[in-house]
């Protein structure tokens, strides 16, 4: 909890884009827009070159759509307070993201918030 609080402050300036772009072009994402979406974690890919958090979001057909969010790598996040089980299937979260320009169900993970109010950020100063 303490770590994540620190990340809240440190992360804002750094903005996911600079470090995330180390791997690839950010062109598919609308970096100038942030949206928020709520759902239930379905799956976490704790993988390189990016983590992917998949959440099920209720749709208007009484079903769910699965949305995917690209985050920083496990190497990067693992040195900033995250572990592979920080987010687990079944967790309720709302995710702040930069949407894909083509409108498909996904985006770049900026931060997430749990119902408890705890905020998880993707960037911040490294923790020794």
């Amino acid at each position: 909890m303490k770590i994540f609080s620190a990340l809240i402050v440190a992360g804002i300036i750094a903005a996911g884009a600079s470090a995330a772009s180390a791997h690839h072009s950010a062109a598919p994402f609308d970096l100038g827009t942030q949206k928020t979406i709520s759902g239930t974690v379905k799956q976490v890919d704790w993988t390189n070159p990016h983590t992917w958090v998949w959440i099920d979001v209720p749709n208007d057909k009484n079903g769910v759509d699965t949305w995917g969010f690209e985050g920083m790598s496990p190497n990067y996040l693992g040195r900033r307070g995250w572990t592979k089980s920080t987010l687990k299937p079944g967790d309720k979260i709302s995710i702040v993201y930069r949407p894909l320009r083509d409108g498909s169900h996904g985006g770049m993970f900026v931060s997430a918030q749990r119902p408890s109010g705890e905020v998880l950020r993707m960037t911040g100063e490294p923790v020794d």
Binding site: S18, S25, E70, R79
Partner: protein, 259 residues
Amino acid sequence: MRFLVLLAFAVIHPVAIAQKAATKAPTAADWAALGKLPDFTGVWEISRGGGGGRGAAGARGAAPAGPALTPEYAARRDALRANAPEDKETANCLPAGMPAIMGQPYPMEFLLTPGKVTIVIEAYTQVRHIYTDGRPLPEDPDLKFHGTSIGHWEGDTLVVETIGFSPLTQLAPGVPHSGNMRIVERFRLTGPDTMSIETTITDPKALTAPYTTNINLARHRNWTIAEYICEENNRNFVDEKGKAGVILNNPGALPQKKD
């Protein structure tokens, strides 16, 4: 005739075939001499503080002033921007190459052994081999992502010269280099756990003046280098037209690119 030429080349440039020749076995004194060098051991990562920025290796708008390009290379840079604004080969998991590989948001580790400095780079699971045994640079090196490097110590500064870069690497973000690009890096400790790397790029065809940038590193004694397999779950791609995209299918398994 060709054999004679090769033979002559080998005589003039014995180092050019050094990979095949046996290297002198290190002695106990060689190992002991390493203890007198600055302590580069451990795992280092670029630090945001200190004003050094990410320099030549940085991904985006890093250097206060960009490289001073010749008209020919300024035109080539502009053409790259105009034709393939989204193009970035790293999206397809090619490693960044020199100099960008030194500016990744991942750590690196320095290993000193007699006659050699090895840099283990976490990003893209890369290694740089820097020979400090006095050999010269090759006359006609193969072109590689990290080029071919030799190094020597000037006091407490490790000076590394590198030539012979793959055309898939860039002088700076979005800037191509010529076959004559040469990189000189000066590594030195600036404090108990801080290091600076001053990187100077010369390229008579591409640059009108040497291009120098600085990188500041912080040592993290408790860290270890982690695995980084870019192909593990790469959902980013750049197609043949330079258009970048993301693959959203198959959560939890290898993404399946649709044609």
